[in-house]
C-alpha cells in the first residue's frame, strides 16, 4: 500500500514548481483525470525511482533542461554543479573525460591513482546528446549506466544511488544509432515537445541571466569536495551535507523542498512495496506474450521473420521483429509503482500500466518495415515510436477487456495445474494461452 507520509506532497510540489517556474510546457497525458506533461512527469518518476530515462526531441526544446531541473530539485544539487557533471556526446569523447583519468602528479611519483570525473561521482547523471557518441564509445558507459559500476585502471567506483537522464536528437548527419543493449537499458523514452507559440513566447521573454537554481557559492563548495582525493564514501557524506545546506536554501528562497538521501531511500522502499493488482498483472502478462511470442519459432528473434498466414497475424507479435527483454517488465512495474505512489493510490492498477507502458515500449520495439509504412502516415501528436507503442497498448487493452474474466480463470487454472492438480488448462485465442501451456508442461 502506498504510504501517505508527506513525501508525495514534496514530490508533487517539485513537479508544480518546475512546471510553473522553470519548464513551461503543455500537459500531454491524462492519468486518472489529471493532466500532466509527460517529459516532466516521467522525469520526476525517474528521479524518485532511480531509473534511466531517454529524452528525445528537436534541438532547443528543453530535453536537457527538464532533466537538469528535476535532478537539481529532487537531489538538491545546484544547477551549476549539475552542468559541471554532464557528459556531452560527441565523436571525440574519451573514457578519460567520461569516467576518470590517472592522477598525473601521482603517476609521476609512480603511483596509480584515479581522478574520477564529476559525472561518475554525483548521483544525477546526464548524458547530453547520447546519440552523438559513436557506437564504439557508447559501450564505455554501458556498465556504468546499468549497474552504477565505474572502472578505470584497476580501480572501481560503485554508486549506491544514481539516476540517469540521456538526451537524443532526431537522426541527422551528426548522429549515430544508439546500440541495442544500451537502448534496452533505458527504462522509458519521452519526448520533450514544442510548447506551442504562446508558451514559447513566454519562455523567450524570460531573463537568461537569472536562474533561481544557480548558486555560485554552493557550486564552488561542491566543486571543492568533488575534486578532493578522499575515499568515495567519505566524499558522498560530505556532498550530502552540502546538499542538506543547499536544500535549506531552496526551501527558504523558493519554498520548494527537495529530498534527503534517506528520504529518497525510504521512498524507494515504499515504491517496492506498492502491490500490483490482478488486472494489472494479467494485462501485463498479455502484453509480454504479444511482444515475445512466435508460434513458429518458439519466441521472437530479431534475426527471424514470422511467416505469412500464421494464425497469430492479428496480434502484435506479427508486427514486431525483436523480442521483449526482461528489462521491460522491470521498467513497467517499477515506473507503475512510482506513478501509483505519486498519485497516492493504494496499488498499481491497469490504468497505471496503460500510462507507463507506451513509454517503456517505445524505444525497445523494433517494428517491421511493412507495419511502419502502414502506420507512419496516420494523424498523431506523438513521435512515431511513442504513437505505435500507444496504439499497441490500446489494442492489447481492448483484447484484455474482451477476455478478462476468461483469462483470469485460465491463470487460476494454470496455478492449479502447476501445483500438479488434475485440471485441464483453458484454451483461448491469444498467445498467452499457448505460453501458459508451455509453463505447465502440457505442450
Amino acid at each position: 500500500m502506498a504510504c501517505k507520509n508527506g513525501y508525495q506532497r514534496k514530490v508533487r510540489d517539485v513537479y508544480r514548481f518546475i512546471s510553473e517556474n522553470l519548464y513551461f510546457n503543455r500537459p500531454d497525458i491524462e492519468v486518472k483525470g489529471e493532466r500532466y506533461n509527460s517529459a516532466l512527469l516521467f522525469g520526476i518518476l525517474t528521479a524518485i525511482y532511480g531509473g534511466k530515462e531517454l529524452i528525445i526531441g528537436e534541438p532547443g526544446l528543453g530535453k536537457t533542461t527538464s532533466a537538469e531541473y528535476v535532478g537539481c530539485l529532487i537531489y538538491r544539487y545546484p544547477l551549476g554543479t549539475i552542468w559541471g557533471s554532464e557528459v556531452s556526446g560527441h565523436p571525440e569523447q574519451t573514457e578519460e573525460k567520461i569516467v576518470g583519468r590517472p592522477h598525473l602528479g601521482e603517476l609521476n611519483r609512480g603511483n596509480e591513482v584515479v581522478v574520477w570525473s564529476n559525472f561518475v561521482q554525483i548521483p544525477v547523471k546526464i548524458v547530453d546528446e547520447i546519440n552523438r557518441l559513436p557506437e564504439t564509445k557508447q559501450s564505455m558507459i554501458l556498465d556504468g549506466v546499468d549497474r552504477g559500476n565505474w572502472e578505470y585502471l584497476n580501480e572501481i567506483l560503485i554508486n549506491d544511488e544514481y539516476v540517469l537522464f540521456a538526451t537524443a536528437n532526431y537522426q541527422d548527419k551528426g548522429t549515430n544509432t544508439i546500440i541495442a543493449p544500451l537502448v534496452d537499458r533505458f527504462d522509458v523514452l519521452v519526448e520533450s515537445r514544442h510548447p506551442g507559440p504562446n508558451i514559447a513566447l513566454q519562455i523567450g521573454r524570460r531573463s537568461r541571466l537569472e536562474n533561481p537554481l544557480r548558486h555560485p557559492d554552493f557550486e564552488r563548495r561542491f566543486h571543492e569536495v568533488l575534486r578532493t582525493q578522499m575515499p568515495y564514501e567519505e566524499k558522498v557524506s560530505r556532498l550530502e551535507e552540502l546538499c542538506d545546506l543547499f536544500g535549506e536554501y531552496l526551501k527558504e528562497e523558493l519554498g520548494v523542498e527537495g529530498l534527503k538521501k534517506e528520504e529518497r531511500q525510504e521512498i524507494r522502499r515504499e515504491l517496492a512495496r506498492v502491490p500490483v493488482d490482478l488486472d494489472a498483472n494479467a494485462f501485463l502478462r498479455m502484453v509480454l506474450a504479444e511482444f515475445s511470442f512466435c508460434h513458429r519459432f518458439g519466441q521472437k528473434r530479431s534475426v527471424e521473420q514470422c511467416a505469412e498466414g500464421c494464425h497469430y497475424t492479428g496480434y502484435i507479435c506479427y508486427h514486431v521483429r525483436n523480442c521483449a527483454s526482461n528489462r521491460l517488465p522491470t521498467s513497467v512495474i517499477g515506473y507503475s509503482q512510482a506513478l501509483a505512489w505519486f498519485l497516492e493510490d493504494d496499488e498499481v492498477d491497469i490504468e497505471h500500466i496503460r500510462t507507463v507502458l507506451p513509454f517503456a515500449l517505445a524505444h525497445r520495439v523494433q517494428w517491421r518495415d511493412s507495419y511502419i509504412s502502414k502506420k507512419e502516415g496516420e494523424g498523431r501528436n506523438d513521435p512515431l515510436q511513442i504513437y505505435l507503442a500507444k496504439e499497441a497498448t490500446e489494442e492489447i487493452f481492448q483484447r484484455y477487456n474482451e477476455q478478462r474474466d476468461y483469462l483470469l480463470e485460465a491463470l487460476s487454472v494454470a496455478y492449479q495445474a502447476f501445483e500438479g492438480e488434475e485440471v485441464t488448462p483453458l484454451d483461448g485465442d491469444h498467445p498467452l494461452y499457448e505460453e501458459i501451456k508451455k509453463d505447465i508442461g502440457s505442450k
Binding site: L278, D279, N401, D405, L411, S412, Y415, E419, I436, D439
Partner: protein, 232 residues
C-alpha cells in the same frame, strides 16, 4: 521453481462491472418500467385486442398513459428503444398502433428533453397518433414514416416528420406547427383550429378545417380562394 501463477491462487474470478454494464442494466430497468405502463394501458383499453379510435377513447387512453409513466426516469433514447420494442414480439405480446401512439405521445410530452428525435426508419409498423397534444416548447422529430392521426390535438409544439404521414394528420390541432417532409393522406387538418401544417410533398386531401394554415410544396392552400374555413 516458484509457481509463476502464484498471484492467481484460488482466484475466484469475479465478474468485473464496467460502467457500460451499469448503463445497460439501468436502461433495461427503465425499458421494463415503460413496458409495464404500456401493458397496463392495453389491459384497461384494449381488453379484446380491439381499440376504436374515438375522441373519448383517445382522451381516456392518454389519461391512463400519463398515470402509467408517472415516476419513470427516462430519456428520449428510452422512448426510441420502446418504439423498437413494439416491433419485437418477444418483448410486446401484441401491438395496437393506436394506444401505442398515445402512449409514446405521453412519453414525449412528459420527457425531460425539449427536443426529442425518434429514429424510426427501421420500424416495421407505422405508429398512429404520434405527437398527440404535443405542448408548447417541445420539438418532436420523427425520422421515417408515420401512420394515421399524426399530430392530432397538437398544443403549441413543433412536430417534424422526416418521411410521410397518413390520414388525419394534424386533425383537431390548436396551435403549433407540423412539418411533413414528404406526403400526407386524406382529411389532413380535419377540425384544426389553429397552427400550421407544412407539407413538402403532396396532400391527398384536406379535411374540414376551421382555422390555421396549410402549405403544400411552399404554396398556401388553406385558407385560400378555393378553401374557406369550415364552421361546424
Amino acid at each position: 521453481m516458484r509457481n509463476p501463477f502464484e498471484e492467481f491462487k484460488g482466484q475466484a474470478t469475479k465478474r468485473r462491472e464496467i460502467p457500460l454494464d451499469q448503463i445497460l442494466r439501468s436502461k433495461e430497468e427503465t425499458l421494463s418500467q415503460i413496458l409495464r405502463g404500456y401493458e397496463n394501458l392495453l389491459k384497461n383499453e384494449a381488453k379484446d385486442l380491439v381499440w376504436l379510435m374515438q375522441y373519448s377513447t383517445v382522451i381516456k387512453a392518454y389519461t391512463i398513459a400519463e398515470e402509467g409513466i408517472k415516476g419513470i426516469d427516462y430519456t428520449a433514447e428510452d422512448i426510441e428503444e420502446f418504439c423498437y420494442a413494439l416491433d419485437k414480439t418477444d418483448q410486446i405480446p401484441y401491438l395496437i398502433t393506436g394506444p401505442a401512439g398515445v402512449y409514446i405521445s405521453a412519453l414525449c410530452n412528459h420527457a425531460k428533453e425539449d427536443e426529442i428525435t425518434l429514429r424510426l426508419q427501421d420500424l416495421n409498423v407505422k405508429i398512429n397518433l404520434l405527437g398527440y397534444r404535443l405542448p408548447e416548447g417541445k420539438r418532436l422529430i420523427v425520422e421515417g414514416n408515420v401512420g394515421d392521426f399524426t399530430g392530432i390535438g397538437l398544443d403549441g409544439g413543433e412536430l417534424i416528420v422526416e418521411g410521410s404521414a397518413k390520414n388525419y394528420t394534424g386533425a383537431g390541432m390548436k396551435r403549433g406547427r407540423i412539418v411533413v417532409k414528404n406526403n400526407v393522406g386524406f382529411n389532413t387538418g380535419h377540425g384544426m383550429t389553429g397552427g400550421e401544417i407544412v407539407v413538402g410533398g403532396r396532400i391527398k386531401g384536406l379535411g374540414k378545417i376551421v382555422g390555421g394554415k396549410i402549405y403544400e410544396r411552399d404554396h398556401l392552400i388553406f385558407p385560400s380562394e378555393e378553401m374557406k374555413p369550415f364552421f361546424f
